[in-house]
Amino acid sequence: MSDREDDLTLIEFLRQHQGVSPSPAPDLEARIMKSVAICPRLSPQRRYLWLIPSAIAVTSLCTWVGYQLFIPFTAPVQTAEVETFWTENWEIVFPELTSEYMTDSSTTLLAEEWLYYNTSLENGVSSAELTTYQR
């Protein structure tokens, strides 16, 4: 006998012998209607309360996804802008250094110089001293 036939035989047996639930008490309907008469009903407005946590969840998800998408697209742009900014300003502050180091790897060198210059300033070394020291 196939599984399908087995199932049908079992279902048939269960349905045939499932029995009948006992009869209700004669006053059951009256009891229910009496309870219903004094029973406060739920407010229909509360059916929309589920929207609040859902909205919070969706907003959080959108924020997170937006943040994840935002970083990889903007970071290279910002880096390029900063590099350009450094290069342009470096030419104004140290024209002789700029002409000397203006090679393909100038960006890295300029950045190192700039960092060194900033450290010197923080340590109280004036621009004149720095120029002398560098020469």
């Binding site: 087995d6 199932d7 035989t9 079992l10 279902i11 047996f13 269960l14 349905r15 045939q16 012998h17 499932q18 029995g19 009948v20 639930s21 006992p22 209700p24 008490a25 059951l28 309907e29 009891r31 229910i32 209607m33 309870s35 219903v36 008469a37 029973c39 406060p40 009903r41 739920l42 407010s43 229909p44 509360r46 059916r47």
Partner: protein
């Protein structure tokens, strides 16, 4: 909407009056319409609760179901799905009852298992089979029992059962398969080969 109580006596359950219409009247505090809804569905609720295994205080549980229905009607989103919603409430009430009486339930099962097998004649055959079906359902886990009862006895489609129980359709199929296997095995152990 004019109230149904003006149109027909409470005993007259006209099948042409839709659930949606009755619900609409109930929402306008028409108790007579609710009485008709009760008459239309009380037997189904009662037998479902009974098959779920809640034999004690059945009247109280039926009452609990219909009170929850009355309370929750304003929140019923689609009145066309009233039947599914009613099954879900019935299942919730049965689940609550199951949790409440779980300990007592186990004790009862032990007692039932220890009962001696009573010999029967042909006149008692039907009673014996009914008892066998009830006992096999009782020993089945509540989750599997609900799926089996709703699908094989109440003849609800799997998709609706998934909605009623709040589980995926795949889980319904899996539970149904295991429930049937268990039932077959149990009946076999009782000397009944199907």
């Amino acid at each position: 909407v004019s109230t149904l109580s003006e149109q027909l006596p409470a005993e007259d359950i006209n099948p042409q009056i839709t659930d949606s219409y009755l619900i609409k009247c109930c929402l306008q505090e028409d108790k007579q319409s609710f009485s008709l809804l009760y008459k239309r569905y009380q037997q189904k609720v009662r037998s479902t609760l009974y098959r779920f295994g809640t034999h004690a205080n059945l009247d109280d549980l039926v009452q609990e179901v219909f009170i929850r229905v009355w309370k929750g009607l304003p929140r019923l989103r689609q009145s066309a799905h009233f039947s599914t919603w009613l099954y879900r409430i019935t299942w919730n009430v049965a689940t609550d009852e199951q949790r409440r009486w779980h300990q007592l339930y186990n004790q009862r099962q032990v007692l039932t298992q220890n009962l001696p097998v009573i010999p029967f004649n042909s006149q008692m055959e039907e009673i014996h089979y009914q008892d066998l079906v009830q006992r096999s359902l009782q020993t089945l886990s509540f989750d599997h029992r609900c799926v089996l009862v709703l699908h094989d006895l109440e003849e609800r489609p799997q998709k609706e059962i998934a909605e009623i129980l709040g589980i995926p359709v795949g889980t319904v199929k899996s539970r149904l398969y295991h429930a049937r296997s268990y039932m077959r095995e149990y009946l076999k152990q009782q000397g009944l080969e199907l």
